[in-house]
Symmetry: none
Subunit: 215 residues, 2 copies
DNA sequence: ATGTCTATCTATAAGGC
DNA sequence: TGCCTTATAGATAGACA
């Protein structure tokens, strides 16, 4: 019963290390879940370790994909923004093109997501705290900042069968649209800063927390 | 003094939400640090939120790069292994597709980071626990499982001039292509295999903990 | 907004099954 | 190996500086 003051050191005993890993991972996910809920932070995790036979996605694989997609898009936006800032001017044609690009992206996203939905039932997901994030707050995901965690798992275990747990997150097309618009909005708020590095990281985008989304 | 039993709900008060975010994020990082140390789990985090002016890398940007690099390699290896092992009952194309989907998630991050890296000199890094991971265990990172966390930062800043800042000619066509391919790729994991999802998660890789790496 | 304090809640190491 | 239990270390909300 925690008589020991937690010696912050590698646990040499294999089984106890594994046990500790599981306990603490669970605790970590719970903390993430709470942070996510209380602060309107969207979060997800990918974990793999030598202690478990398969990679875990939290709160679900779908969520991970969503979060990373959003993240990537944001990065794309930033990238473009930065390039643009260097250009100092913008042609009408370019604007059209970009907007079309965005629109197209949205279509792609639609397709992607709907397809994922279709096959989601066949997916293996192991939401550690499904109640915390998948269900109750899935609807609020739209404009919330994501968190992504990746832990490599290792474990020579080949050809195991997968457990399948579905966690269908239906995406509201309207929300997605809104989200993309937000991203576009935000690719603008930087101009002033000269410090490139800072600038690069300072990309901000609409944050649209909905306090009433089921909490 | 925590008289309240932590009502797991969105904190409506802006300042207290921010305060809570910072406290809890700190706590989360500490937990990660401990998990990392005690269980030989390599971990890193990328965080961005509306509550802080810039993206944070934990334990350091360098570490994040290392961890993701390793992750990428592992995925490559897994990919090959799976392709060889399962060629018999799954079409090569399918496997490629599936694995690539996951792999790309990493590439996505990787790409961003390398990007960031270019301007790293102008960067302000804020390693939360540099002592824990950067120094003492960086050398042991090689075979340890990584953890990656990403939190997007947002910022209600709407209504700014709405020009998409980018010249299509300046966008790396390759990247764009890749990006779109990725999106489209995901619209494929639906078709035949009902348990493909499971397959998606099944890539595994070797793990090589070194208990004597400075703990 | 940032740091400190402290009562209280939460996480969890060890044990036991 | 994995689940309980329980005592204790640790995290932290709210108050205040």
């Amino acid at each position: 019963m925690i008589r020991t003051k937690v010696k912050l050191a590698y646990i040499t005993n294999d089984s106890s290390r594994k046990a500790t890993y599981k306990k603490r991972k669970k605790g970590l996910m719970k903390k993430m879940s709470e942070l996510s809920t209380c602060c309107g932070i969207d979060a997800c995790a990918i974990m793999y370790s030598p202690y478990e036979s398969q990679t875990e996605f939290w709160p679900s694989l779908l969520r991970v994909e969503q979060v990373l997609s959003k993240f990537k898009m944001i990065l794309e936006m930033e990238k473009r923004k930065n390039m643009m800032n260097q250009e100092c001017f913008l042609s009408q044609r370019t604007i059209k093109f970009e907007l079309w690009g965005i629109n197209d992206l949205n279509l792609l996203l639609d397709e992607k997501i709907s397809n994922v939905d279709k096959s989601i039932d066949a997916f293996t997901m192991t939401p550690l705290y499904p109640q915390g994030a998948s269900s109750s707050s899935s609807s609020s995901m739209v404009a919330l900042p994501p968190i992504t965690m990746v832990m490599p798992k290792a474990m020579p275990k080949i050809g195991t069968e997968e457990i399948v747990q579905s966690d269908v997150n239906n995406i509201d097309p309207m929300k997605r649209q809104q989200w993309i618009m937000e991203l576009m909005n935000n690719s603008n708020n930087s101009s002033p800063q000269t410090h490139v590095g800072g600038n690069k990281m300072m990309f901000q985008f609409g944050h649209n927390i909905n306090p009433n989304n089921g909490h």
